[in-house]
Amino acid sequence: MESNWLSRLKDLNQERIVLVVAVLIFATASVALPGFFSAPNLISIVRSISVLGILALGMSVVVIGRGIDLSMVAIMAMSVAWYLQLLGDGMADHTALLLVFAGVLAIGLLNGFLVAYADVPAIFVTLASGSFVFGYVRSQLISSDAVPVPEGHWIAMLGGLRFASIPIEVFLFAILSGAMFLFLRYTKWGRYVYYAGDNPIAARNVGMPVRPMLVLRYVVSALTAFTAGLLTAASLHSINTRVVNSTLLYDIVLVTVIGGIGLSGGKGGVRNVLVGAALIGIMLNAMTIVDIPLLYQNLIKSTILLLAIIMDGLLNPRDEQTAQQGDI
């Protein structure tokens, strides 16, 4: 009976369930909550989800390729903090940007190298590199938890930029989503991500450059994190490195997984990220309007994440043939 129930659920598929739930919450909130269905609030929903969505795009490329990047939040916060600190110390803008860009690239390459060539599980590599990036930048390169954006810098301008009263990050999120969609769907390299995620050994046997592609994915996610960090600094006019210890990382995983991108790789795409982001954005906004304290929001979010993972586990059971010993 259970398998029957499951197979019927499979027809429904996770993405559609989430979409339906999102629409339902949206409809309910629109009716029940005053001020929810208004242009400013809708814009703020989209805006609140933009940075998270951009991070989730980076994460999704890695996850589709059967990996995970737990160092994203550290890279996001610490790279920008270092950049702002360099600017504050009076370094020329392009030199500082170049230096930080090189640093981000190096961490992405290091993550990718350890995963691809040293065969270390991605979760440990990125857990360790996240801890290292935070610790190193915090203790050696910057002097306080929060680093402000210098007066009149282009990042501050960026934060104030509006087109048709819609903030710039929304457009950026849209552009990046479009680019990622085209990359994953229509380029050779994009298709390779799916093949390598579905069955890395087979992909390698066929002759795809599985290892260089792996490195590329971690570089992409590191650069996405850097972009998201710049946007965060733009809207807040500073960057607080304490965000590394917050639940932001789990929110990224939540947005990625809940839309239907399986953690076992090879499944999903940009559309799933958009659906996941929509659900989380609507939910967080509704919870804030209802005035649920942040602590309870965390509990609700994490419980939903657990349910999503259980659902994912039931719908995409681990393949014992391609799962490797030690693949935890």
């Binding site: 995970i68 350890l114 040293a118 065969d119 270390v120 599980p121 979760i123 440990f124 590599v125 857990l127 360790a128 590199s129 996240g130 801890s131 290292f132 990036v133 935070f134 610790g135 190193y136 930048v137 915090r138 203790s139 050696q140 938890d145 639940t247 789990y250 995983v253 953690l263 602590l295 309870y296 965390n298 509990l299 994490s302 419980t303 994440l305 657990l306 993972i309 259980i310 586990g313 039931l314 059971p317 681990r318 014992e320 010993q325 030690g326 693949d327 935890i328």
Partner: protein
């Protein structure tokens, strides 16, 4: 001998290269790196921090270490079972809160607080265990999420009840003692960590549930196939880990008498780093509690040391990140390459200059001259048997042989066309012999000495001897029992060809040529096994002399036959009776005319003899070339050789056509015929011996005529 060759001989025969390979096969070498790290960390921080080694300072700093070790021990067990538990941090915090609220809000006794802590840990562990064990979710991501849920719960609880706890007036002496007191100079956390470590260690190494955990971690599928309840085992590891974290949480609750927002913060990455730095393998199966504890000490000393030395925010995370990355990478690389390293260094050839052999060329006129007499043999069981190393006949003329499939096959007299599996052994039966009561005794490759009674019950007689004092790898176990014979008093004399390789790796043993073969005796009266002689190059065939006062055994790679005296003035000593033969001897058996048959498994070649004088070349060869390209004893030509008590060679029979019996490992004379076996052959040969006594059987010769 040139000077250069002499140097080679000294270099390869006196320097014990093989020891390196043998040490590397030891599992404790895994501990070497973490242990070294431990010593360095403790020494450097101990000297950098003033008063580090003072008793009071140690008592205080080890309280935290004790709590931490409890958590790491739990995590180690989960990791051994092939999982991971990141939720330990929030379980720790939640159970600390349970204990504190029991005592300070509900004002209950301490034991109830402890029970509340453990219940919290068990519940949380059970949730993790259910999700990962029974629903088979991914351990890392699942425990990550339950960790966040636990943390969110804890934060809510602390915000709502934190002030109530602080304002409470409740107090308890037991509570304070657990938090502050010492027993025999040891604090309660250290004591409980020690007790838990010892109990867990014993459980893991010496109990059924512990073995199940290791088996599941080592290979899930094999464990399942072996009938282990995999899901339940995985479930239990998480419950155990939950309980360990809960105990640690209870202890910190008593120590701090409160629960703040920082309790257990970052504990999961600390514990994970500790477990991995200690050398516990990700993915399970390899590791131990001791490794976990070593890792715990390294991480604790390092992180606390950095704080006490006054390094700023973030330094700890940086160091932890590096530590975790380096440890995981070393672990993965070492696991992946260990066998390669071992292969590189294990084969350690020695120098040997073989003596000049008489010619075996057909027509050369020596008694060794080969011919094609054996090609006239008829065949038994052609294509039905694989690898009859030895053959033997019973008093009813039935023919027995061992096969590669681990069975003893019986062919029925008189025409030997019908056969049956006489007994299933499970290992490759090599040498065979009948005792006085008609029991069939056999040396089973890699297993030991076994007896098959006429009613087919299989009994193990011996699988080990006394361990020698200088051994690194335990040489008590018989690795390659090869041939046996039985004295009139029932004692079984048998050979164990090599201590360095398993039976199927005999080519490597021939290339290494190290003298590690043994002659042993099994005494059925008390069941004991003793080593009589040690240090021969591949001891192989054994047979009792016709007068039963001595026995002959051969040394395959040295092409020699020795005589070991059981009685008389030379009792207990061996002397070489035939040396420098042109072929490699195998089994030896009695012949009807008072002489002996010896099988040759192959012939010496000038090229291999030369390579024996060049150990470095053989080492390179074994390392760099695929097995098919190795130079090793020629086994395409063998034969049967007859010799007498004085060691004189009387006659040689071969099969130069190579069609029927290229390699001979055994032959048995029975009623005027010779039955021939070969370990790589697909048949048993039957050869009529001219002029032999057609009434003679070896059973009569050993045990007297049948009644």
């Amino acid at each position: 001998m040139t000077f250069r060759e002499q140097l080679q001989a000294w270099r390869y025969n006196l320097v014990p290269d093989h020891v390196i390979g043998e040490i590397l096969t030891k599992r404790w070498t895994d501990n070497a790196i973490p242990f070294l790290a431990l010593v360095i960390v403790v020494a450097s921080f101990g000297s950098a921090i003033p008063g580090f080694f003072k008793l009071y300072s140690l008592q205080e700093s080890t309280r935290q270490l004790g709590e931490f070790s409890l958590v790491v021990t739990g995590l180690t067990v989960v990791m051994l079972g092939g999982g991971i538990d990141l939720a330990v941090g929030s379980i720790f915090a939640l159970s600390a809160f349970s204990a504190v609220s029991m005592v300070f809000i509900f004002e209950q006794p301490v034991w109830l607080a402890f029970a509340a802590s453990m219940a919290t840990g068990a519940t949380f562990g059970a949730i993790n265990g259910y999700l990962i064990g029974f629903l088979r979710l991914r351990a890392f991501i699942t425990t990550l999420v339950t960790f966040i849920i636990g943390r969110a719960l804890y934060d809510i609880l602390v915000v709502n009840f934190g002030s109530k706890i602080q304002m409470s007036m409740a107090s308890s002496d037991t509570w304070d003692f657990i938090g502050d007191g010492t027993i025999l100079g040891l604090s309660v956390p250290v004591l409980s960590a020690l007790v838990l470590a010892i109990v867990t260690h014993i459980a893991l190494t010496r109990s059924r549930p512990g073995w199940h955990v290791l088996a599941v971690g080592g290979s899930r599928r094999s464990a399942h196939n072996a009938g282990i309840k995999v899901r339940q085992t995985v479930f239990m590891t998480y419950v155990f880990s939950g309980l360990c974290a809960a105990a640690a949480g209870f202890l910190i609750a008593t120590r701090l008498s409160g629960a703040g927002p920082g309790t257990g913060h970052g504990l999961e990455i600390l514990a994970l780093t500790a477990a991995v730095v200690g050398g516990n393998s990700l993915g399970g199966g390899r590791g131990s509690v001791v490794k976990g504890i070593m890792g715990a000490i390294i991480v604790m000393v390092m992180t606390n040391g950095l704080i006490r030395l006054g390094y700023g925010t973030g330094t700890n995370q940086m160091v932890l990140g590096i530590l975790l990355a380096v440890a995981v990478t070393i672990d993965i690389r070492w696991l992946k390459n260990r066998h390669k390293v071992l292969n590189e260094v294990y084969v350690a050839p020695v120098y040997l200059r073989m003596g000049e052999a008489p010619s075996a060329v057909p027509g050369s006129g020596t008694p060794y001259a080969l011919n094609s007499e054996l090609s006239g043999a008829t065949h038994i069981g052609l294509g039905e048997v694989e690898g009859p190393e030895d053959v033997i006949l019973d008093r009813d003329d039935h023919l027995y042989c061992g096969t590669r499939h681990g069975e003893i096959v019986r062919f029925f007299a008189p025409d030997y066309t019908r056969s049956e599996v006489f007994a299933h052994i499970g290992g490759f039966p090599l040498g065979l012999a009948f005792d006085r009561d008609g029991n069939l005794l056999t040396c089973v490759g890699a297993m030991g000495l076994y007896q098959i009674a006429p009613d087919r019950t299989v009994t193990q007689l011996s699988a080990e001897t006394r361990r020698s004092f200088t051994s690194i790898v335990d040489d008590a176990r018989l690795r390659d029992p090869n041939d046996l014979d039985i004295a009139p008093d029932g004692k079984v004399y048998f050979t164990d060809s090599t201590k360095r390789y398993d039976a199927h790796e005999w080519t490597l043993d021939s290339i290494e040529n190290r003298a590690t073969g043994r002659l042993l005796v099994f005494d059925p009266s008390d069941g004991s096994t003793k080593t009589l002689l040690d240090g021969y190059r591949y001891t192989n065939g054994v047979t009792m002399a016709h007068d039963n006062k001595s026995l002959f055994f051969c040394e395959s790679w040295a092409c020699r036959i020795h005589r070991y005296w059981l009685e008389g003035p030379k009792a207990g000593t061996a002397e070489c009776v035939i040396r420098d033969m042109p072929g490699y001897p195998d089994n030896i058996n009695r012949a009807s005319d008072g002489t002996y048959w010896m099988a040759w498994l192959g012939m010496r070649t000038p090229s291999f003899d030369l390579s024996l004088r060049h150990p470095a070349m053989r080492k390179r060869m074994a390392r760099r070339l695929p097995q098919d390209d190795w130079l090793f004893p020629n086994i395409n030509t063998g034969g049967v050789v007859k010799f007498n008590d004085k060691g004189e060679i009387l006659h040689t029979m071969g099969d130069l056509t190579g069609l029927a019996h290229p390699m001979v490992t055994s032959m048995r004379e029975h009623k005027g015929e010779l039955f021939i076996g070969g370990i790589l052959n697909n048949r048993i040969g039957r050869y009529k011996i001219d002029g032999a006594d057609t009434g003679w059987t070896s059973n009569d010769s050993y045990w007297g005529a049948s009644k």
